[in-house]
């Protein structure tokens, strides 16, 4: 019996030791946002910045930046709303125009007029009376086409929403589920801006009859189904049209080795919907001052010029110069479709529902 007790004692001691050990191991991850020398940025998973650019900011301002990537854009916003009494960070980046009203109506942000705001184009300032959010980047959600496919088939690539429903482009388009993917939702909103609140359903019926394919997320659509991307070619993707971004062709070209003269994919510029991303100082932020400094930095020239090659988005400030590599392949979109955030907020749920039963069920 005594050996059993001894063994048990040893086991218990070992167990306790492990727990204490793991407690030590975990303690370095304790709460650091209370420390006013640290400023915490909450973002969606796509956040990226050059290391030296962030270091510059840390050196100049004296703050250490902690980044919390908190799921995709919708998830990050929803979590922030649920925890707004005691937020996980000081600044939230990544609220786009489709989510803006949800964030503002829930009182997620406190007003702050960032330094340098006069450089930001007024068409992007969707909260210019109250300054609860600051525009950071912009881009367009557009149909991309596989240049090679259309050359091989001696077919003119589509240019507009109307074109996509034409028999010549039957079974060529792949798009994303609007309830799970932000480009998918953008494309739906673009079609609603084009055909009106009661007209888009008819358009989507035509698209469905024309063989549109729907997958859950952008990664799957672009990197597996689309025949024009490096990933899609490898995976045997057979759809030469995909709902993606106007900045996808530059990304496709820059990540090729060797870099081609022109991008292998093009943009149907008549199918674009403008997406602008915002950042704001969270209500109840622990480090307000640091958060404000961080917001100033996000629209400063250094960061604005660093964004295009890191996140493949366009700057919102007038004085920012596009990196040469990016500019070389960049596609100008002249008149993208837009929609007021209030209107999006009022209609999104109903539209997503009717789209789902129209196209998926």
């Amino acid at each position: 019996m005594s050996t059993i007790i001894k063994a048990t004692a040893v086991a218990v001691a070992a167990g306790l030791g492990l727990v204490t050990l793991s407690a030590c191991g975990g303690s370095d991850s304790g709460k650091d946002s209370a420390d006013s020398k640290t400023v915490t940025l909450v973002s969606h998973d796509s956040w990226a910045v050059s290391k030296n650019v962030l270091k510059d900011f840390e050196k100049r301002s004296g703050y250490k930046v902690t980044v919390l990537k908190d799921g995709d854009a919708g998830e990050a916003v929803n979590k922030a709303i649920l925890s707004k009494e005691n937020p996980q960070g000081d600044v939230l980046f990544g609220v786009d125009n489709t989510l803006l009203s949800r964030a503002l109506d829930n009182g997620l942000f406190q007003p702050y007029e960032a330094e340098g705001l006069e450089q930001v184009g007024t068409e992007y300032q969707l909260d210019k009376d109250k300054h609860r959010v600051t525009p950071i980047d912009t881009g367009n959600i557009c149909v991309n086409y596989d240049k090679k496919y259309f050359a091989d088939h001696k077919l003119t690539p589509p240019a507009s929403f109307d074109d996509l429903a034409k028999p010549a482009y039957k079974n060529l388009l792949v798009t994303e589920n609007v309830s799970t993917s932000s480009p998918g939702l953008g494309f739906l909103l673009g079609s609603a801006a084009q055909y009106g609140d009661n007209g888009w359903q008819g358009y989507w019926k035509k698209l469905e009859a024309n063989g549109v394919k729907v997958v859950d997320g952008w990664e799957q659509a672009y990197n597996e189904e689309f025949s024009g991307s490096a990933g899609g070619r490898k995976a045997g993707g057979d759809r030469p049209l995909v709902v993606s971004y106007a900045s996808s062709p530059p990304a496709e070209a820059i990540y090729s080795d060797p870099q081609p003269k022109t991008a292998p994919t093009g943009v149907a510029t008549g199918t674009c919907f403008r997406q602008t991303e915002f950042a704001g100082l969270l209500s109840n932020a622990k480090n307000e001052k640091g958060g404000k400094a961080l917001l100033d930095f996000l629209i400063a020239k250094e960061f604005q010029q660093d964004m295009p090659l890191n996140m493949f988005v366009d700057p919102v400030t007038k004085d920012a110069v596009l990196p040469a590599d990016y500019a070389k392949y960049d596609v100008k979109v002249d008149a993208p479709k837009t929609m007021a955030p209030k209107k999006i907020a009022d209609n999104r749920d109903a539209w997503v529902k009717s789209w789902t039963s129209l196209v998926l069920k």
Binding site: G15, G25, G30, V77, N86
Partner: protein
């Protein structure tokens, strides 16, 4: 009993109630009218219908495929049986993300079947059903096989001697005895597939959605908390019913069967029929379970420059930008969290099991069923509940590491209770009474009477809790800090990224996770005794 009750109150009931009331309360009033609204919607009814019928189909399919396996494991003695039994159990403790990935590699675009015959099953319901069979094969083999191996074969032989045909003997003698075990296994499989999340999310595409996936979409993406709350309540009710039926069938199983030592019932197969059966089961296991796992491993080594360790090496750098830390650190995080979760689960589960053996009555039985609930309640709900409730003093845990082990322990406790309970119940109460008469305090009696007898079950319970914690995904993904990802979370993140390198790294991490799970299971097999099989 106070400690487990408090634990479940604070870390389960309170967060879940908070998130549900957040969704269903408007202006301080409960909006029960919303329930009828939501359930009246055709797409929600569609989800309910799909959830139910795929669970029924998965259960039937699993039983059909796994029952011959249960028989073979119970009655036959053959070389490599232990390893094979560990192998079929590996899927059960694998994270759903990894299972989804393995099946994608097998039946998805560019998968093995696509390459060989151009067959693709992803985004069809078949992929989901097959993955569910893969997952739950072990549940049937362990639950039914465990009992089958202890049934006295002489009863059936006696029936045959009296002139019954082989089929009649099986139907009239063995089947009635096995009935409750089959029912219990079927209910567990039904429960697991009814609440399936990761598998459906990865393999289902946009058209298929279970309740659990819909709760995730409504909460995380659409932010319709009211609908999510209603769905949570519906799932809660459904799971409650399943568990009640399960508890009832378990009680029936405990009664009135004369069991023999499993060591005496298994023998080497003889005759071509039995060998064919054995070969059939081994082939099924190979195709259904080993093949997906094998494809996963193979892909993890198939780098851009041919076979090699390229993806494993990539795990040690943080250049990819997906994480703030090299993905390899996820191994350390996972092990630390799982150890802490195991410690919590064993203490809480052990206390609960001890309390359940001491007392009887309706209340205690209700508590027993209650302990099982975390298995069936949406992990997403628990994760979000943690986010909004555990953020104020004295329970300001959100920024701390302990949150993850707490959530994982919630899923571990039911396994601990289910493993410990039968063994604790088998301890003769008179021994305890004798100790008390001789002057031992209750604690001392427990330490010197119960503990030595249940030490082995305790180890097995700890092993199960460890493996399950290691694989927990649904709740962890919401509360793990980005700079401290666990293995399943890291796998999911990598899978969500485009590019070969990310995919390869996901496969490599999945392989590592699988090996860790398999090793802990093999260790379990070694200490597994013939009597203490537990209820899983």
């Amino acid at each position: 009993m106070a400690v487990p009750v408090a634990f479940f109150g604070i870390f389960f009931a309170y967060p879940v109630a908070a998130i549900v009331s957040r969704g269903l309360k408007a202006g301080g009033h409960w909006q029960f009218g919303r329930i009828a609204d939501v359930l009246g919607q055709s797409d929600i009814r569609h989800v309910l219908w799909f959830t139910t019928w795929q669970a029924v189909a998965s259960t039937v399919l699993t039983l059909l495929i796994a029952l011959p396996g249960a028989y073979v494991f119970a009655r036959f003695e053959f070389r490599g049986k232990q390893i094979l039994r560990a192998a079929v159990t590996v899927p059960f403790v694998l994270p759903t993300v990894v299972v989804g990935t393995a099946f994608l590699a097998l039946v998805g675009r560019g998968g093995l079947l696509d390459g060989l015959w151009g067959v693709r099953l992803d985004t069809t319901v078949w992929a989901i059903l097959l993955a569910h069979v893969f997952f739950n094969y072990a549940v049937v083999v362990r639950t039914v096989g465990g009992l089958w191996s202890q049934l006295d074969p002489r009863q059936e032989e006696a029936a045959r001697m009296l002139g019954a045909s082989r089929w009649t003997a099986w139907r009239k003698v063995t089947l009635p005895a096995l009935g409750p075990a089959v029912a219990a296994a079927a209910l567990m499989v039904f429960l697991f597939t009814f609440t399936s999340f990761g598998v459906v999310q990865i393999l289902g595409g946009p058209t298929f959605s279970t309740l659990e996936v819909e709760i995730y979409r409504q909460t995380a993406q659409i932010f319709d908390l009211a609908t999510a709350a209603v769905l949570t309540i519906v799932q809660f009710a459904a799971v409650g019913i399943i568990l009640a039926v399960h508890a009832w069938s378990v009680r029936r199983r405990e009664s009135a069967l004369r069991l023999v030592d499993a060591a005496h019932t298994a023998r080497r197969p003889h005759g071509s029929g039995q060998w064919a059966l054995l070969a059939g089961v081994v082939a099924t296991v190979a195709v259904l379970i080993l093949l997906p796992l094998g494809v996963l491993i193979q892909r993890s080594f198939e780098g851009p420059d041919g076979f090699g360790l390229a993806y494993y090496k990539a795990l040690t750098s943080s250049d990819s930008g997906v994480f703030l830390v090299p993905p390899i650190e996820a191994i350390g995080n996972s092990l630390t969290y799982a150890l802490a979760a195991t410690a919590i689960a064993v203490v809480i589960g052990g206390l609960a099991a001890a309390a359940l053996t001491r007392r009887a009555g309706r209340l205690v039985r209700g508590f027993d069923a209650l302990l099982m609930l975390p298995l069936g309640v949406s992990a997403v709900t628990v994760g979000f509940g943690f986010l909004i409730t555990l953020d104020k003093p004295p329970l300001d845990l959100r920024g701390t590491w302990i949150l993850v082990p707490l959530a994982q322990a919630l899923v571990g406790v039911p396994f601990v209770v289910r493993t410990m309970l039968p063994v604790l119940r088998a301890v003769d109460g008179r021994l305890r009474e004798a100790a008390a008469v001789l002057g031992a305090s209750p604690l001392r009696a427990w330490r010197e009477v119960d503990l030595p007898m249940v030490r082995r079950a305790l180890l097995i319970a700890a092993g199960f809790a460890f493996a399950v914690s290691l694989g927990e995904f649904g709740a962890t993904v919401f509360i793990a800090r980005p700079d401290h990802p666990t293995l399943p979370v890291a796998v999911a993140r990598l899978l969500g990224r485009a590019g070969d390198l990310n995919y390869g790294q996901a496969m490599a991490l999945s392989t590592i996770l699988m090996v860790v799970c398999a090793v802990s299971l093999l260790l379990l097999e070694r200490i597994r005794t013939d009597r203490t099989t537990g209820e899983f």
